[in-house]
């Protein structure tokens, strides 16, 4: 096969990897946001994202039956749709904090991990049971028009939208963390909780804001998952959860920038192993092997800080 000879083939695969990487990255950034600020692994992040996809679809169904999609101009109802999904995801984020993180503040770090895993099961099953025909695959409505820039299949409106949305969302998160007062408070808390409290930072409200922010981020991830694949099933969340978590760890769990590198790295490994003849069966396995090797050789992740234990 002409792997290198044909330029468009490689570019096509690069594009595949970048798109996949965008989705992994958003979930991974969610993970590292939670971990960075509160030192907890929120394992149901993938499920929150898929919940976002389903709430978009549900809202769309309601809008359509109510005739809103025909009545209002497209940008308006699109914004409303996103708004509904974002609010629902943010609410779920806060619920996650209140039900699975806050009760375990003083116990071992294992407890939030397990209780978010349990919450993930609950979210997944709730979608499966209470969404109409929830256990069947669901078609995501076509929110991004088909067609492409300059007639080039790779630059379809959808691909461009996904990349732009990811970029803008990440930019917004960084600005929020860097420039806003709340963002600074989050960073202070990430560095030293007790000191942050002494400095007069309201730990509770910072924690809740973190989860609102994380929920918003994951709702965008949910939108991208729906738009990119066009089809979702209620149990897809666990897959994105594991992949996102792996990406976050590879990048260095507490580092939001590392999550981007981790997400992209994981996606590239998967795509390029799939290209090899018969490699598709092993793509995920190789990605996880890379994670293991990485962990063992450089446990603090790509951008994580090396912690030196002092006695």
């Amino acid at each position: 096969m002409e792997l290198l000879g044909n330029g468009s083939f490689l570019i096509e695969q690069l594009m595949n990897a970048i798109m996949l990487g965008c989705i992994y990255t958003l979930v991974a950034v969610g993970f590292s946001l939670f971990f960075g600020v509160l030192d907890v692994v929120v394992f149901c992040s993938g499920d929150i994202a898929v919940f976002g996809t389903f709430s978009l679809m549900g809202a769309y169904m309601i809008f359509e039956t109510a005739g809103l999609t025909a009545m209002l101009p497209t940008p308006v109802w699109m914004m409303l749709l996103m708004g509904v999904a974002a609010i629902l995801c943010a609410a779920l984020g806060v619920f996650t904090y209140l039900s699975s993180i806050r009760p375990f503040e003083k116990s071992s770090s294992l407890m939030p991990l397990l209780s978010t895993i349990a919450l993930g099961v609950v979210i997944r099953e709730t979608i499966g049971l209470f969404f109409p025909l929830g256990r069947n695959p669901q078609r995501f409505p076509r929110l991004i028009p088909s067609g492409s820039f300059g007639g080039h299949a790779l630059l379809s409106y959808r691909n461009v939208t996904i990349i732009c949305v990811t970029f803008l969302v990440l930019l917004a998160v960084f600005f929020f963390l860097r420039k806003s007062k709340m963002g600074n408070a989050m960073q202070a808390m990430a560095q030293n909780k007790r000191l942050a409290a002494i400095a007069g930072i309201n730990i509770r409200s910072v924690a809740i804001t973190t989860f609102v922010l994380g929920g918003l981020l994951l709702s965008v991830a949910g939108f991208l998952i729906g738009a990119y694949y066009g089809t979702v099933r209620f149990d897809n969340g666990s897959l994105y959860g594991i992949k996102g978590f792996s990406a976050a760890v590879v990048g260095g769990l507490s580092n939001v920038y590392g999550a981007i590198i981790g997400g992209m790295l994981l996606a590239f490994i998967e795509v390029f192993v799939s290209i090899l003849p018969g490699g598709a069966a092993y793509a995920s396995a190789v990605a996880f092997i890379a994670v293991v090797i990485f962990m063992v050789a450089k446990p603090e992740g790509i951008l994580g800080e090396k912690t030196v234990e002092k006695v």
Binding site: M1, G230, T231
Partner: protein, 405 residues
């Protein structure tokens, strides 16, 4: 003090225990579906994936199965009331083993129908055999499940992977004349046995195998593989998997601009779910086969579809729902043949010798318990619906299948 307290606890435990066991009925049944009347009750078991990723297929099959017995009970043709005990096998051998253990020890069980997943069936078959309870397989297609050793206890109303692929290969490789095939399947036993069976057929018809890719069934992203496939330029892609994966492949094929390549597969993708997963506009021109006869064309079939609709089940008819309905018809016919008392031993004999009229035509079993009704018909997706090949615009030549020269 402690001893006193402990004795009190012991007494309480005993009391609670006896209370519980006292007011409970003797049977160990799972969820009984339907109510009873004053006729004597016999029970039939059903096993299938009611939870997990295959839950929609399993639940639809359970609904079809239960519906057949509801109809029987209403009609009063049998001097018995038949109760369906439905159990989840979770697509897993361990869960299936627990389920079958419970079924075979339920009082009054005379027959079981089960499984969509071949590994689950592999695990439960020895248990049914050692307990002498007949098992009619409705959806697992692994070829080795029915065999001379397992006959007459194990029978199957659906075709094996080989039977289906023989028919499909004849349609696609001979009648439609496709030559260069790329195989994509999932790594489940369903996918892998399909790949194997179809490859054998390809050798027979002298078709070219362009490449094979096996993908874990949880994977959503086929784009990297499809770009590779596009490069290899096959005429058609054989998909050996089920609806969700098939739909994702097809919609991602459209995204990648692979409009001139046919996607086809056996009955695993031949369902509404596939069209939903692919998107109605993307699914156009997918080719598949369904064993049996077309339900929309026969009277029984139309009645079945209407009845299913009327029941307002939460899942639509799946690819294998007609089989579970026919498995029920086989059991019902065998019950009628028993003429009098229905026991599991008698049922084994009667099921093996059954001639049952169902949705897919007349079902009979051969000397290894496999249905002799392999009649299949081809379908194609046209305007968001599975349409029988003969009736489609593709057969008349108004539209052409992708990649057909």
């Amino acid at each position: 003090m402690n001893r006193k307290r402990l004795s009190v606890c012991l007494a309480a435990l005993l009391a609670v225990g006896t209370l519980f066991s006292g007011c409970g009925k003797e049977d160990d049944g799972g969820t009984p579906v339907g109510g009873a009347d004053d006729r004597p009750v016999v029970k039939v078991g059903f096993m299938g994936p009611l939870t997990g990723g295959n839950a929609s297929e399993g639940s639809a099959a359970r609904n079809g199965f239960t519906m057949a017995f509801d109809q029987l009970n209403e009609s009063g043709e049998l001097p018995y009331y038949v109760e369906v005990v439905a159990m989840d096998d979770g697509s897993k051998p361990e869960t299936a083993t627990s389920a079958v253990q419970r079924l075979v020890t339920t009082d009054g069980i005379v027959a079981i129908s089960g499984h969509w997943n071949s590994p689950a069936a592999t695990a439960t078959i020895p248990i049914c055999k050692s307990n002498n309870i007949p098992l009619v397989i409705w959806g697992a297609i692994g070829e080795s499940l029915t065999s001379a050793e397992n006959y007459p206890i194990i029978t199957r109303v659906c075709p094996t992977d080989r039977q289906e692929n023989v028919t499909l290969a004849k349609y696609v490789l001979e009648d439609l004349g496709y030559k260069n095939i790329y195989i994509i399947s999932d790594t489940t036993s369903y996918g892998q046995s399909n790949t194997q069976a179809f490859q054998e057929q390809m050798k027979k018809y002298d078709a070219n195998l362009i490449g094979i890719d096996e993908v874990p069934d949880t994977q959503n992203d086929f784009r990297a593989i499809l770009s590779k496939v596009k490069q290899a330029k096959p005429d058609a892609i054989f998909f050996g998997g089920v609806s969700m994966g098939g739909g994702l492949v097809k919609s991602q094929m459209v995204d990648a601009g692979m409009d001139d390549i046919l996607l086809f597969g056996i009955s695993g993708i031949c369902s509404e779910d596939y069209i939903i997963a692919a998107g109605a506009e993307n699914a156009e021109g997918t080719f598949s086969i369904k064993p049996g006869t077309d339900p929309t064309k026969t009277e029984v079939g139309q009645k079945f579809l209407a009845d299913y609709e009327a029941k307002n089940y939460s899942v639509p008819v799946g690819a294998f729902t007609p089989y579970s309905y026919d498995a029920a018809q086989v059991i019902i016919q065998a019950m009628k043949d028993c003429e009098g008392e229905i026991t599991a031993e008698k049922m084994i004999e009667k099921i093996a010798a059954v001639k049952a009229n169902g949705l897919l035509g007349e079902t009979q079993f051969d000397e290894i318990g496999q249905t002799t009704n392999p009649a299949s018909y081809a379908l194609v997706v046209q305007d968001g619906k599975w349409v029988p090949w003969e009736d489609s615009l593709y057969a008349t030549g108004e539209r052409t299948l992708p990649g057909r020269k």
